[in-house]
């Protein structure tokens, strides 16, 4: 059975619905935006002053 979650945002005066989709679960473990992740890792490696 699909797991459906209805939530109200603190920022928006609207209710939203999250529906768990088993087909999407097949994407788990795959890197879905590899170039973007590579760029992010490159930028993150350069950070010297990580906030504590």
């Amino acid at each position: 059975m699909e797991k459906v979650l209805r939530i109200k945002s603190d920022f928006f005066d609207q209710k939203v619905t999250y529906t768990h989709n088993k087909e999407l679960d097949k994407l788990k473990g795959r890197i879905l935006a590899p170039k973007k992740l590579e760029e992010a890792n490159k930028m993150l490696r350069k950070i010297k002053n990580w906030p504590k």
Partner: protein, 161 residues
């Protein structure tokens, strides 16, 4: 915030993938938001874009569906919900182009007072991380929910999670 958002999402059970449909002048366009673990602990990269014919994210496509603000607000909403679920996680994001990063900078800047109440917002510029302020030059954003407090029996205590 007075922005309209899309309100029907399909997601993985770990909330790292979230799909919705943009409805506009060019019809219905499937969109995908993805949070991916980076090399740094508790830092997740946010990727967002159209779902192309191969089922992959295309973050360079300009869909011109006439709903840019609604989409930006929706992405922000999903980030808000995600960090509520995982308050210890940082979210890293940058635009796929300089123009898009500028657009995000403007959008965050316009709502900075409200956003700052909930999030720590940092900008990354030439390897240096600085608290974000309006109109600053940036390469990317890093945000995290502020330390949250639980109200128990009328007293606020810092959550030690």
């Amino acid at each position: 915030m007075k922005y309209e958002i899309y309100s029907d999402y399909r997601n993985t059970d770990d909330y790292n993938v979230c799909d919705f449909i943009s409805i506009g002048k060019k019809g219905a366009i499937p969109k995908r938001i993805v949070f991916t673990e980076t090399e740094l602990k508790d830092v997740y990269n946010l990727a967002f874009g159209d779902i192309n014919e191969n089922g992959e994210i295309d973050d360079c496509r300009i869909s011109d569906n006439g709903d840019r603000n609604k989409i930006l607000a929706t992405v922000f909403y999903v980030v808000d919900a995600y960090t509520k679920q995982f308050p210890e996680r940082w979210v890293y994001f940058e635009g796929s182009t300089i123009q898009r990063t500028r657009l995000y900078r403007i959008a965050v800047g316009l709502n900075l007072d409200e956003l700052s109440q909930t999030f720590e917002i940092y900008a990354l510029n030439n390897g240096e991380l600085k608290p974000f302020y309006k109109n600053m030059e940036i390469n990317a954003f890093l945000i995290k929910r502020k330390n949250f407090y639980l109200c128990v029996h009328g007293k606020s205590i810092k959550d030690q999670k």
